[in-house]
């Protein structure tokens, strides 16, 4: 049955889409919460089963599917999950139950809209990770943004409408530039002949894009058109300015989707639609991208050190981590790329854990400034332990998952250019400074007025953070399954 009638990428796309649309019409808050949680657990289950069918011998029958769509343009509705796609769709499937679970007791205004939009975002992200046609990829790339735009604008702080619009305009401009690049490459592909012998003049397929007839100079400027879209999403310095504001103003559970999953769309885009498609462009300008990324690492780490706002601290820390991943990815060394793939998953898990802790702190104490907090450990010891583990994983301590990815990435960067590696390795020291500094100020010392309102973790929060911590240790000690899963994917990306 499986593989004959439906495949994993389809299931991962349609279940959240349909569940999301249904959620809009469930007016009862309790019911819609339960519905969404169950739907997200089913998606997780599908994704876990999908991991068991992930080896390349089963690829054709279980992990890819193609329908005719916009045939006259040479496009099709072609979904496929390779190793990286499996890993990231699993991360997406894993994140949602965690997000829904930890906030299960919370009261939502217009709960049906919130959960509906969240699930639609999930469908969009799944689509991005599985699209095998460039036009289809662009569709999902934009469609994931629309529900996220509504989520960020409806739930959040006072400035949310303005900051979210900034986020939207940045992303939309980048996407449109990428669209012109996609069209240009499309017009340089050969004709596409479909199975029913109809023919289109050009081809949107991924393989056709990789073999498009492009000169070195063309690839040079196409590089920048694609980089504009992905750099905004990742975000790479100096296009990061939307991020701290948006993360600060947006409801934290939505920020988890943005920073845990949607930024990975940018890196994934580089992997699938940039490195193999415009290789000569990358070899011309990859250096510039790495320099920007390294500047971003140092800049964001320094800003994070002096940050008093908890949410912005996590935002800047995230920029620094993503900068390192970008640099390692553009180094195109086997170690570096492998590290990026591993780290994409690990950073997703860690940062969601980090945000859960921050959100619990802010919601229970009522303040988001580090200077107004202190001594939380006395009030909430379990929360403190969780935070310390997640914080150490964020720094990249051995035996936590953060170490595995960072070790590989620095290895790759050293092979590429030791100056860049030496500068960016400062990020580890700086991240230790700001993470440990934050933990010291927030969790230890005298109990502040705001902190005295704290209570410890509830059951739902314990489960969510427990899962995060377990994953941190498992992938930290035994990352081999992730590397096995994605080792084929690196072949195309390495120079």
């Amino acid at each position: 049955m499986l593989g004959t009638y439906f495949t994993f990428p389809e299931l991962l796309l349609w279940i959240p889409l349909i569940a999301g649309i249904v959620a809009f019409f469930i007016k009862n808050e309790k019911a819609v919460k339960a519905w969404s949680l169950i739907a997200s657990l089913i998606i997780l289950a599908v994704s876990v089963v999908g991991l068991c069918y992930s080896d390349s011998s089963k690829y054709l029958s279980y992990n890819q599917v193609s329908y005719y769509w916009l045939k006259y343009l040479g496009n099709s509705f072609h979904l496929g999950l390779d190793g990286t796609g499996h890993l990231l769709s699993f991360l997406t499937a894993l994140a949602y139950p965690l997000i829904f679970l930890y906030s299960y007791n919370r009261k939502w205004q217009n709960a049906n809209n919130y959960f509906g939009l969240m699930l639609l975002t999930q469908a969009g992200i799944m689509g991005v990770f599985s699209a095998m046609d460039a036009l289809l990829f662009y569709f999902f790339w934009e469609l994931a943004l629309i529900p996220a735009y509504f989520l960020c604008s409806i739930w959040g702080g006072k400035q949310k409408i303005a900051t979210t619009f900034k986020f939207f305009v940045y992303t939309f401009t980048g996407s449109l530039l990428m669209l012109t690049g996609i069209i240009y490459i499309y017009l340089h592909t050969g004709p596409r002949i479909f199975e029913d012998t109809t023919q289109a003049a050009h081809n949107f397929g991924m393989l056709a894009f990789q073999h498009a007839n492009l000169s070195g100079a063309e690839q040079g400027w196409l590089f920048w058109l694609f980089f504009a879209a992905f750099a905004v999403k990742i975000p790479v310095w100096p296009l990061h300015t939307w991020q701290p504001d948006t993360y600060d103003q947006t409801e934290t559970s939505v920020v988890m989707v943005l920073s845990g999953l949607m930024v990975k769309m940018g890196l994934f885009g580089v992997m699938r639609w940039m490195l193999p498609v415009v290789p000569e462009g990358v070899s011309q300008y990859g250096n510039v991208a790495i320099i920007l990324a390294v500047i971003g690492i140092i800049y964001a780490s320094c800003v994070a050190m002096v940050q008093d706002n908890l949410k912005k601290l996590v935002a800047y820390s995230s920029i620094a981590h993503l900068g390192l991943m970008t640099a390692a990815l553009f180094s195109q060394t086997e170690l570096g790329v492998q590290g990026v793939i591993v780290q994409m998953f690990n950073h997703g898990v860690n940062v969601i854990g980090f945000w859960i802790v921050v959100d619990i702190l802010i919601k229970k104490s009522g303040v988001k400034y580090i200077s107004e907090l202190g001594g939380v450990a006395i009030k909430a010891p379990a929360l403190t332990i969780m935070m310390i583990i997640i914080g150490l994983a964020n720094i990249g301590l051995p035996l936590t998952n953060g170490f595995v990815g960072e070790f590989l990435m620095y290895g790759g960067l050293f092979q590429y250019n030791y100056v860049f590696a030496a500068i960016s390795i400062l990020a580890i020291i700086l991240s230790a400074v700001y993470v440990l500094g934050m933990i010291r100020k927030v969790f230890y010392g005298n109990v502040s007025e705001a902190a005295s309102k704290m209570t410890d973790l509830t059951t739902y929060e314990k489960i969510a953070l427990g899962v995060v911590v377990i994953i941190i240790f498992i992938t930290g000690v035994y990352p081999q399954p992730i590397i096995e899963l994605t080792k084929n994917a690196t072949a195309l990306l390495v120079k």
Binding site: S153, L176, L177, I183
Partner: protein, 462 residues
């Protein structure tokens, strides 16, 4: 051919109906019946390639599937306007059936300007469109702004008509074949004679005026703002895209051979139109005026079809016509039902009228060019056509940057509807159940065409 005859005939019917029908609401139904007849007759002609009327026109009219598909789009857009806002025509004044009659005459002009084969019929088509519009834009007699709009439109329109006529005369004089047929224009030896160049530039200027492309756009905001809302809705959509079809058909058939020589003029006009339309729209408070500037901005995108002048561009202009007309008529229809025309008037609409708010959001997405809407397909085809034509990639980059700017003003309405609390004073929509259903169907149609543009594109190649 069917459409030309039937629209003219039904215009006369509507005028007589005005004399004999005492009821104020009956003309609306008569007009809707007429538009359905016209649409079906046109569809039959499109499918069978034969007309009901066998008149020897000495080849002065050409009805290929591209032209007929465009007429179908224009008639369908008018139909949508009638069923959404038919009742609102009754609020303009007492001569309800005359308003409908004039619109039918305009449609006759639209059909002519989509099918002309000679310069004279083109002139006739454009004028048949313009003259009833002068009347319609001033039809709200007691409204000072409406009077201003009519006078302004008449003066500027007459001026541009004069230039157009002069251009036609020059072209005729320079044409060694001595013919008005657009496909029979002999450019003579290179370089082209100065007389021909003057004629071409005059035609370019007057057509740019008709499509409200910068720097000939100055009439548009005031006229669109002053005219009664339903007339604006018609004028900014059906009339504008009809002028575009005439523009493209003329310059493609008559001057396509020397495309490279006037391409740079089009580039200048395109960029100026995009710049002025988009930047000015950002600063508008009145949604009606904002839509006027947005229509200029969209004209800038449609100009890209003239820049590329290939099959993709022509296909694109049909899709663009449909996309732009559907979304703009839908938005105007909502606006007509509101009391407050400023952006604040939309505040909190999602709470009170969720169906209308979601539909309006889809219209705005389509105008912005978000995927899965027909608006995306339209913009996509335009970009594709220019990139395929080659050489003007930088214009494409400018165009997409302005498309991003357009998000600024379209999304302000979305922000008002969904994220802002309703104003304390009740801004209720005078919308019935059937209106809501039609608006939702329009929104669904936009998505459907966005997912399956073949539904529309297929007609062109039938």
């Amino acid at each position: 051919m069917n459409a030309i005859v039937l629209t003219a005939f039904w215009g006369v019917v509507m005028m007589f109906a005005g004399a004999f029908l005492k009821s104020k609401s009956l003309p609306k139904y008569l007009a809707i019946a007429g538009i359905i007849i016209v649409f079906l007759a046109n569809a039959i002609e499109l499918k069978t390639q034969t007309s009901f009327f066998n008149i020897d026109l000495h080849n002065m009219i050409r009805t290929d599937s591209f032209n007929l598909t465009f007429i179908a789009v224009a008639v369908a857009a008018t139909f949508l306007l009638f069923i959404l806002n038919g009742k609102d025509f009754e609020n303009i004044g007492i001569h309800v059936s005359e308003y409908f009659a004039l619109i039918f005459f305009i449609l006759c002009g639209v059909a002519l300007s989509a099918t002309f084969n000679t310069l004279l019929l083109m002139f006739l088509g454009i004028e048949i469109i313009s003259i009833p519009l002068y009347i319609l834009s001033g039809s709200e007699k007691k409204n000072l702004k409406s009077n201003e709009a009519a006078l302004k439109y008449l003066l500027m329109g007459a001026f541009s008509t004069g230039i157009m006529l002069m251009g036609i005369a020059f072209i005729y004089g320079a044409n060694e074949n001595g013919s008005f047929f657009i496909s029979n224009i002999n450019l003579g030896a290179q370089p082209i004679s100065p007389m021909f160049v003057v004629g071409l530039v005059f035609l370019l200027v007057s057509m740019s005026f008709k499509v409200s492309a910068a720097p000939f756009h100055f009439w548009a905001p005031d006229v669109y703002d002053g005219a009664p809302m339903v007339v604006t809705s018609f004028m900014a959509t059906v009339v504008k895209v009809a002028a575009f079809i005439a523009f493209i058909r003329l310059f493609d058939n008559a001057f396509g051979k020397i495309h490279t020589q006037w391409q740079n003029l089009i580039v200048v006009i395109t960029i100026a139109t995009l710049l002025i339309g988009n930047i000015t729209a950002v600063f508008q408070q009145s949604v009606k005026r904002m839509l006027a500037y947005s229509s200029i901005a969209q004209a800038g995108f449609m100009m890209l079809a003239l820049l590329s002048l290939n099959d993709k561009g022509k296909e694109g202009i049909i899709i663009y016509s449909a996309a732009y007309s559907l979304a703009t008529i839908g938005l105007f229809a909502v606006l007509v039902k509101m009391k407050d025309y400023t952006i604040d008037g939309f505040n909190g609409m999602a709470k009170k009228y969720p169906a209308i708010a979601v539909s309006a959001a889809i219209f705005l997405f389509s105008l912005t060019g978000i995927p899965l809407t027909i608006g995306f397909q339209a913009k996509f085809m335009m970009l594709l056509s220019v990139i395929e034509a080659g050489g003007y990639f930088w214009v494409v980059i400018i165009a997409v940057l302005f498309a991003a700017v357009s998000a600024f003003y379209y999304f302000r309405i979305i922000q008002a509807m969904f994220f802002k609390p309703a104003l304390p004073d009740e801004n209720s929509l005078a919308a019935g159940k059937s209106f809501k259903i039609i608006i939702v169907i329009t929104a669904i149609l936009i998505i459907l065409l966005g997912v399956y543009p073949e539904l529309l594109v297929g007609w062109i190649y039938s």
